[in-house]
Amino acid sequence: MKRDGPTALERFINGVLPENPVYRQLLGMCPTLAVTNGMKPAMTMAAATAFVLICANIIVSLIRGLLKPHLRILVFTLTIATFVTIADRFLAAYMYEMSKQLGPYVPLIIVNCLIISRCEICASKQSLGVAAADAVGMSLGFAAALASIATVREILGSGSWFGISVLPAAWPGWGIMVLPPGAFLTLVLLLGIAEWMSARRRRAPERQSETESECSLHGHAH
């Protein structure tokens, strides 16, 4: 088969940072904002999303030769919904407390655009290995993004991380960080930092070449 797109390694690396689903693509905002008030719910959501994304990418990649263009979204949704239901039932059976805490956000994984976009962009066009690597990379990127937001919110809001106390008991706990406004504030701040860092990295080579050319131009004048 001809090579028709990025390789498995490129897909994997892209998912983690350069095309991070939350910080670069702004996908999956609903779980990003809703379940990041603590590390435990955030990581459960990341694991459930990873399970669904990896399974959906694998199935879609396997049947990509049979897809009809106008029915492909239907097939993606059907596949995603199936694995979301499995994840939801599994949580209800083995992590009952967490399943109650996450409530409707587990079934809402179905409408997480991250998953359907990976089916569309990668899995429906590329081979099994590339699709699986893409799903794993994106899942790791998504998990890292959720972890970064949840870390800030849980430490500032509850003084703990994964439920373990990390700040002295005197820490008052900024209640707002646990509440929905804290999700928006944290996301905006971290998104701003991520943008600033990538803008600086983009500018750095330019500035370097500018300085060099200036030097060579005006070198003799001074």
């Binding site: 049947i63 097939v75 199936t82 039932r89 059976a93 009952y96 409707p104 956000y105």
Partner: protein, 217 residues
């Protein structure tokens, strides 16, 4: 002729969707049959843990689980709640029905004579976050406490005037009405049979297995 060829065209397009739906449906049925017992057990444990909250003075370890045939002819699970000294304190009646988004499962706490609601607990719901899911909150659930069971409950959007009125949640009228409808339907179905059962306590033994850790002595 053209009809036939068009139908054949549909099938040629849709066979994959139909096949996947069948395969996935079968798979999900398998998952459900493997996990349903475990999920039901989780819910039962949660039920036992909230019984003292639903019926005051209850001792959850003394609670007896019964199967009583409702008006609709189906046997339903109810919990007969007793205090630690053995006096009959009330009942907990599980009920479920359609909410705004998905099925809502509730536990209704009732006093011993089945005349007043003593508490309400939402066991499972998938209502809209931030609006309908406030049915799980104490503010909404407490609106059912002390309500009589002789008429059906009505949901109102202002402060309740009559005894059988429940104030709806702002922005979640359908979720509020769903919960009230579930309570009404469960009481209409089970109140009579439960009263009959309460009047003849000798039937206690044969009907259903008792709580796992109950009646030890």
């Amino acid at each position: 002729m053209s009809d036939l060829s068009r139908q054949r065209g549909y099938l040629r397009d849709a066979w994959l969707v139909i096949l996947l739906a069948l395969v996935f449906g079968g798979g999900l049925a398998g998952v459900q049959s493997v996990l349903s017992d475990k999920i039901a057990e989780n819910k039962r444990q949660e039920t036992y843990s909230v019984i003292p909250e639903l019926v005051s003075g209850a001792d959850a370890t003394k609670t007896v689980e019964l199967l009583i045939e409702g008006r609709n002819g189906k046997a339903a699970r109810v919990y007969k709640v007793t205090a630690s000294d053995g006096t009959h304190k009330g009942w907990v009646l599980p009920a479920d029905g359609q909410g705004f988004a998905d099925r809502v499962e509730v536990l209704i706490g009732l006093d011993a004579t089945l005349s007043t609601i003593t508490g309400l607990y939402v066991l499972e719901q998938k209502e809209t976050p931030g609006l309908g899911d406030y049915i799980t909150g104490e503010t909404f659930r407490s609106r059912f406490r002390g309500k009589p069971t002789d008429g059906s409950l009505t949901v109102v959007k202002s402060d309740p005037q009559a005894d059988n009125e429940i104030r709806a949640l702002t922005g979640a009228t359908i979720s509020s009405e769903s919960v009230a409808a579930i309570v009404n339907a469960a009481l209409a179905n089970m109140k009579g049979p439960m009263q009959e059962h309460g009047a003849s306590p000798s039937e206690d033994s044969g009907l259903a297995p008792t709580a796992p850790e109950g009646r030890g002595d």
